[in-house]
């Protein structure tokens, strides 16, 4: 999962990025509205975490411009706690709204929820054959046996599971699993896929030659 954080307060931006990376998210960051909007428009993020008060462009202006082209789920962070601000935020296209100060756990849960909703999933547990992916605890079981996966491997499975039945291209996978600072070595993806096949069975991920991968 790849997430964009737009936040002008450096210490907050840094801690949010770290918290999200620990959870296996690929994180891009922008410290002003203009930069943030550019990033949001030029990449397919799984979610955007955005402050309302931003230099250059504020959160509402970003939403207004972004919604013309993208449906990326947006979680707004704000110090404004008045109802009218929340209503305005949600009405202008935000998917959720979190008031500062917040707990990191709550932020992560809300982030998972908006990502899940945008993939049209209602449950936290996705099942593909005898594999179950628990989105909340970020664990995977195979025939009810817990399987140890690295964070990156888990993210790959989670992304494929959320797009169950669809063919996911390598480009998509690169875009959603790695952030802008990571060198996307072309065989890194193949390494992860083969490791997952070893752990969950070779038929779990099907390869559609020339297109990409597919589960379910």
């Amino acid at each position: 999962m790849r997430v964009l954080i737009i936040e002008d307060e450096p210490d907050l931006l840094k801690s949010l990025a770290r918290g999200l990376r620990d959870e296996g998210y690929a994180v891009d960051s922008s410290d002003n509205g203009e930069d943030g909007l550019f990033n949001a428009q030029s990449n397919d993020y799984d979610a955007i975490l955005m402050d309302v008060m931003l230099p250059k462009l504020d959160g509402w202006q970003i939403l207004e411009k972004l919604r013309k082209t993208k449906k990326t789920p947006v979680l707004m962070l704000t110090a404004r706690d008045q109802t009218k601000d929340r209503v305005r935020g949600l009405d202008s296209g935000a998917d959720d709204y979190l008031i500062k100060p917040f707990n990191l756990e709550e932020l992560l849960a809300r982030l998972r929820a908006i990502i899940r909703r945008s993939a049209n999933q209602t449950s936290n547990i996705l099942t593909i054959g005898d594999v179950a992916v628990n989105l909340a605890s970020r664990t995977i079981t195979h025939n009810k046996t817990p399987i140890e996966l690295t964070a990156r491997e888990y993210s790959l499975v989670e992304f494929l599971a959320l797009h169950k039945g669809e063919v996911v291209t390598r480009t998509q996978l690169y875009e959603h699993l790695f952030d802008e600072n990571e060198s996307s070595l072309s065989n890194l993806l193949d390494v992860h896929v083969s490791k997952i096949r070893k752990k969950l069975g070779s038929e779990f991920i099907a390869t559609r030659r020339g297109h990409g991968y597919c589960v379910g």
């Binding site: 801690s15 620990d22 990191l104």
Partner: protein, 488 residues
């Protein structure tokens, strides 16, 4: 006596008192006039009769006869209705004719029992013998008559009980007494006075009812205003009393109340906004501490990681500390608890000290501070004024361009010491100039780090506490121009 506290009752009381006074005065005047006219008529009739008797007594002519006053003509009296001539009964007793006193026939009906006014007469000689009298004349003690005659003098009118009399002394020293019972007139006067009192009472009660209505009508807008005002103060300060249909005096009151409400609303909103802003300002540093610590505690970190987290928390905590200090300082100024220790200070020394402090910061962006200040002695708090100058200098540096300049100068004008600080920075838009001294006002609302948004508010509070003023102008094309005026 304690006056009633209700304006309505007090109005009614005064109104009633004035009405009673006016009505009484009118009534008394009307009654007095009526009474005077009645007596005047009676007296005229008496005078006429005295003259007739005098003429009858001395028929030979005018010699020795004084006429009493200027009585009305006989015709006037006869037309009066009271004195219609009546002929049928001779009014005089025989004794009168015997003594040689003879009334003219047409005058006989002016006296006696049957004449309408029941007039009587007595003629008394110099030797106090009765020369002649009408049949209805009262029995009198002659001595008493002369006693009263002496007291009242000749030609006087006397009333005793219901009898009105006049006495007249002729040249030949006979005394003529003419009188009558005036009971009908007295009764009429009593009736008149009862009528007057009744009319007065009716007018008074009508007046009181009208007064009550007027008081009610004129006080109704006040009640309306107080009801509206009560509602406003209880619920919603943003509402106002509607001025359109109130009278001038009341609309003045209403507009004063409205102005008070407006001021209250502003103060109330400022207070609310202040608390809200203060909480708002604390949200970001608290968020930093929360996310930093929660993220760090999720798993084991390297020492470097922990150090970074602690440093971020420290920065956030220091930011909160600065904010709290600024808030407390403003609160002390607001409540008048901040102590200003005034000394004779040289503003030039103060400015030099401040420049020394901010120079390292200015050097970072190669900003040149030009000092054009001169020695001016003023009576002020050194620490506090330094705080203002440093704050303005820091702003001038922070919002400046690379290689920019800051110009600080002093001057004296009309007993005021002027400190002017100009910069070559971005300047302040005209529409924002009015707000920059407001608490938490930021030209760029997204600027979270660094300043608390209270610096200029504190500057203004300090300068105001010195009875000075602080203002700002936009420089063309770029830059801001802050002017502090301090009394020497």
């Amino acid at each position: 006596m304690k006056l009633p506290t209700s304006i309505k009752w007090r109005l009614q009381l005064w109104y009633g008192l004035i009405l009673i006074f006016v009505l009484s005065a009118l009534g008394i005047a009307a009654y007095s006039m009526q009474r005077a006219r009645t007596y005047h008529d009676i007296d005229d009739a008496l005078k006429l009769r005295v003259n007739i008797l005098t003429e009858a007594l001395h028929p030979n002519g005018q010699r020795g006869i004084r006429r009493l006053g200027n009585p009305p003509t006989r015709r006037q009296i006869l037309n009066d209705g009271n004195f219609l001539p009546r002929i049928e009964t001779p009014a005089l007793q025989g004794s009168l004719s015997e003594s040689g006193f003879q009334l003219r026939a047409q005058d006989e009906n002016l006296f006696g029992l049957d004449n309408p006014g029941n007039y009587y007469f007595l003629i008394i000689s110099r030797t106090e013998e009765i020369l002649a009298q009408s049949s209805n004349a009262p029995k009198i003690n002659t001595l008493a008559i002369f006693d009263t005659l002496r007291v009242k003098g000749p030609g006087a009118f006397i009333t005793s009980n219901t009898i009105r009399e006049t006495r007249f002394e002729t040249r030949s020293k006979e005394t003529i007494i003419v009188g009558r019972d005036i009971t009908p007139e007295l009764n009429r006067l009593t009736l008149n006075s009862i009528e007057l009192i009744s009319i007065g009472l009716i007018v008074l009660s009508l007046g009181l009812i009208g007064g009550w209505w007027i008081a009610d009508q004129s006080l109704k807008p006040i009640q309306d205003i107080s009801r509206t005002a009560g509602l406003i103060s209880a619920s919603d300060l943003s509402q106002r009393i509607i001025l359109s249909n109130t009278d001038r005096e009341l609309s003045y009151l209403a507009s004063i109340l409205n102005a008070t409400f407006a001021r209250l609303e502003i103060a109330f909103n400022q207070q609310k906004q202040f608390a809200y802003d203060a909480a708002h300002e604390l949200r970001t540093p608290v968020s930093i501490i929360l996310t930093q610590t929660q993220a760090a505690l999720k798993k084991d970190r390297t020492a470097e990681d922990y150090k970074e987290t602690i440093e971020a928390c420290l920065r956030a905590a220091q930011r909160m500390k600065r904010l709290i200090e600024s808030l407390l300082e403003l609160a002390r100024f607001d409540s008048g608890q901040e102590v200003i220790r005034k000394d004779k200070i040289n503003i030039n020394t103060l400015i030099n000290d401040c420049i020394d402090l901010v120079t390292p910061v200015a050097n970072e962006t190669r900003i040149i501070i030009k000092n054009n200040s001169s020695d001016v002695l003023i009576n002020a708090d050194y620490e506090k004024i330094s705080q203002v100058v440093i704050n303005l200098l820091m702003n001038a540096i922070q919002y400046n361009i690379f290689n920019g300049a800051v110009d600080i100068s002093t001057s004296v004008e009309n007993g005021l010491c002027l400190i002017e600080i100009k910069d070559t920075g971005i300047g302040i838009e005209e529409d924002k100039i009015d707000y920059i001294f407001e608490r938490f006002y930021r030209i760029d609302p997204s600027r979270k780090s660094g300043n608390s948004g209270l610096g200029l508010s504190i500057c203004r509070a300090i300068v105001t506490a010195h009875a000075g003023t602080i203002k700002v102008k936009k420089l063309i094309p770029n830059g801001s121009h802050f002017i502090i005026e301090l009394p020497q």
